[in-house]
Symmetry: C2
Subunit: 186 residues, 2 copies
């Protein structure tokens, strides 16, 4: 007689994401995930091919949430204002999900990398704002400049790399505004 599942993929991914958030990638041990969903470790392999794939699923979950946050941030009125709103939403998301966020742009083994189309979708709002600002011919380059700066900023922040004093919030606003000016070709 078939036994009903005692856990589920969503429960496993959620548990894994919690573990990563609280203790980083090292804390993501299959045995601990199993504990969290109240199952023996080998049972996890009925839902997931292995730890690498679980990491991938967690990253994809995070990327989906990031996309929602970015989409919710823009108003569509003024591209310069939208750029600032996107940057702030991006940073807020990273601050609220530092452990999971760190995985998005970290060099992971092929098996743990998120589906590229998900990353593309998450970046779509930035691309549209970049196009409104910089024009169609420079849209992609402008979007990459914005994303690179925003990611680099929060990555350094989360890694504790800003150690020379000064106001971090102001530095972020400074960057967002200067980038808005620099990319505006209207």
């Amino acid at each position: 007689m078939p036994t009903p599942s005692r856990t589920s993929l969503v429960a496993i991914v959620a548990a894994g994401r919690r573990l990563i958030e609280s203790e980083g990638l090292t804390g993501l041990a299959m045995r601990r995930v199993a504990d969290e969903v109240e199952v023996q470790p080998p049972s996890l392999y009925k839902h997931v091919t292995g730890r690498s794939e679980l990491i991938k699923l967690i990253v994809e979950d995070v990327v989906g949430d990031l996309r929602s946050s970015l989409n919710a941030a823009v108003t569509g009125s003024d591209p310069r204002a939208d750029l600032v709103a996107l940057a702030e939403a991006f940073r807020r998301f990273a601050h609220e999900n530092p452990g999971a966020y760190a995985l998005i742009f970290t060099p992971l083994p092929e098996k743990s990398r998120p589906d590229p189309t998900l990353l593309t979708k998450a970046g779509d709002q930035v691309l549209r704002t970049a196009e409104a600002l910089a024009g169609a011919e420079h849209a992609l380059e402008a979007a990459r400049t914005i994303t690179a700066w925003a990611h680099g900023f929060v990555a350094m922040e989360l890694a504790g790399a800003f150690r020379m004093g000064g106001n971090i919030d102001e530095a972020f606003t400074f960057g967002a505004e200067r980038l808005g000016e620099a990319l505006d070709s209207r």
Copy 2:
């Protein structure tokens, strides 16, 4: 009778850095480092307090090399040209040391983080160029904008996050030039 050391801290750090470069942080196993320097694993602990500290020493080694590369890149003639030269040197370094580079701005446990003063020294050249460009009152913010963008760009590149086509080299040059314009307050 005292036994002469069969290995050394520099040999251990070099071996560790090689392992990280070829197989990432996961490849940095104490047993494999021990193999590389031809010693039994427990002997490593006479030179290093543990794996965490070894990671820290490796990161500090890399940061020192990055600093040298950046210092060698500037000519001091024109700040805009220096900014481009710094950005290119930064990116070249990351491409040549992708495994080790990834560690610099990754969120590491406290015990593995590099000495903050080393990071400061590595960033000093960028700070000076930023000051020449943006003026003393905005030097730190400008330096952070430049560094964030450059790091974000190569981090995304190394993570394989640029998947929408387009020319990556041109996107980098585009960003460097626009940033130069945006930060120039002379």
